[in-house]
């Protein structure tokens, strides 16, 4: 290069016309050896260093037989190492969608596949390569497409996930992995992605982006901090290690990493991770707020006698034998329950002990609680409902949120067979008391 930025042209010297030197005609002469043009079916000797036939139609001579003008031909030789402007592709770069040279028998390229065909990316995939393939086809950023997919999947209640699965099935995979010389991933793919979007199909190829470790660094820091908070919570239970706080700290660190990536490094993919973390944290915070605002929240998640979550309709029949084991505890997380006290009649009462006191706790998370009371039993009822209504004979019906009712149903007999003290609680549903003669 001289001061004007034009390549210097040494005097023609036949001795420089060796096999690795490209000889070009002088600027004031007719070209006798044309450079390979993409619109002409020329031998693709000039692309020999790129390992491909750019348009899939050029006939390629066997490697190592690059055509060279005869020695002494008018022209000038470029200095060794000189690279023509416009050929400055990164080493090993390969146009997406075209097979590597030499992968076909005889070293000749086969017709290229339809470039309009949308395929799942092999090199840029998180799950099935659908977003990577679509981003390549639409020449857009795969990270943005993935974020959009995650957000729309949440917004649509998972309906988009079905579309993704269909696309996964319908879209074919890339027919071959992009490879450069020596079977190594081609430059531009090496970082695990498509070539930079906005450059495909352009002669002005941008240089491959510098690989950034910012995202992994931030994620590692976030995991360590979240682990430390959780560890701290093990040592000091019920302090800081609630899922909402851990998720919030994790989310804030990811956000700070993204802020750093605004100017230094690249960490856009952290946003893909942050969206589900934000959703999880929101649910955790909402659950924590619900627990704090509902002191009896444990009735929503109750376990049966086997330690498993009790779900399903229940029929609790209380006999005199059960009454002898008072207090009694009945729970169900989700389902309707019938608390049948009718066996507690005078005939079943222990001899000489009329008016035996029986204490019962009955909890239903989501569902209805129906209490069947015989006429000769006195019922002392304390009923609470977080969301729903309470219906008791002789008492006004109540309904709404955070409802409670304390009442007593006297027995029809002078001396009740049993005195039942019932603490009935329902999260969302209703409590109904019926008296049988």
């Amino acid at each position: 290069m001289n001061a004007e930025g034009t390549p210097t042209t040494p005097a023609p010297d036949p001795s420089t016309a060796e096999s690795d030197t490209t000889v070009l005609p002088g600027p004031d002469e007719q070209a006798t050896t044309a450079l390979p043009r993409p619109d002409a079916q020329q031998p693709a000797h000039a692309e020999a260093g790129y390992g491909q036939a750019p348009y899939g139609q050029a006939t390629v001579p066997p490697a190592g037989q690059a055509t060279v003008p005869p020695a002494g031909q008018a022209g000038y030789a470029l200095p060794p190492g000189y690279q023509q402007p416009g050929y400055a592709l990164p080493p090993g770069y390969q146009q997406p969608g075209y097979p590597p040279l030499g992968s076909q028998p005889g070293g000749y390229a086969q017709p290229a596949p339809n470039p309009q065909r949308v395929t799942r990316s092999r090199s840029d995939r998180v799950i099935g390569g659908v977003c990577g393939g679509l981003a390549r086809a639409w020449n857009t950023d795969p990270t943005l497409l993935r974020i959009l997919t995650v957000v729309l999947t949440i917004v649509t209640g998972g309906a988009l996930l079905l579309g993704y699965l269909i696309a996964w099935i319908v879209m074919p995979e890339d027919p071959w992995p992009p490879q450069g010389p020596g079977g190594q991933p081609a430059a531009g793919y090496a970082a695990g992605g498509n070539p930079p979007y906005g450059t495909q199909g352009s002669a002005q190829m941008a240089a491959p982006r510098e690989r950034s470790y910012l995202g992994w660094l931030v994620l590692s820091i976030a995991l360590v901090v979240a682990g430390l908070i959780t560890l701290f919570g093990v040592a000091l239970p019920d302090t800081v290690a609630t899922p909402g706080i851990v998720g919030g700290v994790l989310l804030a660190i990811l956000g700070i990493g993204l802020l750093v990536g605004t100017w230094y490094g690249r960490a856009r993919w952290l946003a893909v991770l942050a969206v589900p973390v934000a959703l999880f944290t929101f649910v955790a915070v909402a659950a924590g707020a619900f627990v704090q605002s509902n002191p009896n929240w444990d009735r929503w998640v109750v376990e049966g006698s086997d330690g498993r979550l009790a779900i399903g309709d229940q029929a609790w029949r209380v006999t005199s034998a059960d009454a002898a084991e008072s207090p009694l505890d009945y729970r169900v997380s989700a389902g309707d329950a019938v608390l049948d006290l009718r066996p507690l009649t005078a005939a079943g009462a222990e001899a000489g002990r009329p008016g035996q006191r029986v204490e019962i706790d009955a909890s239903v998370g989501v569902g209805q609680l129906q209490v069947l009371v015989p006429a000769d039993v006195r019922l002392e009822l304390e009923a609470t409902v977080d969301v729903g209504d309470i219906s008791v004979p002789g008492a006004p019906n109540v309904g709404g949120t955070q409802q409670s009712l304390q009442t007593t149903l006297e027995a029809t007999t002078p001396r009740p067979a049993y005195i039942v003290s019932l603490d009935a609680a329902v999260g969302a549903g209703s409590i109904t008391v019926e008296v049988f003669a």
């Binding site: 023509q84 002669a203 660190i253 929101f282 955790a284």
Partner: protein, 81 residues
């Protein structure tokens, strides 16, 4: 890491998730409920606005690049064309 042109999407997403994280931590510590409608709408708007800004910035960068060195449909470019 080298300084590069501002990535507006990262800026929008970073601000969003940092604010959300702080809000969630404060809410979890105090037992407050966070209105999911605000969270969902804010997330969609911030990510969408960031994507739009990033797209516009990328388009302008491309125009500047083409203004400096006009792109050609030929490949490889003909240095004598």
């Amino acid at each position: 890491m080298k300084r590069h042109d501002p990535d507006w999407f990262s800026l929008a997403a970073g601000l969003l998730f940092t604010v959300l994280g702080v809000v969630f931590v404060v809410a979890a510590a105090n037992g407050w409920a966070v209105d999911g409608r605000w969270v969902a709408s804010g997330t969609l708007i911030a990510l969408g606005a960031g994507g739009i800004a990033a797209s516009v910035a990328a388009s302008r960068r491309e125009q500047r690049r083409e203004a400096v060195a006009p792109a050609s449909d030929d490949w490889p470019g003909d240095p004598f064309a």
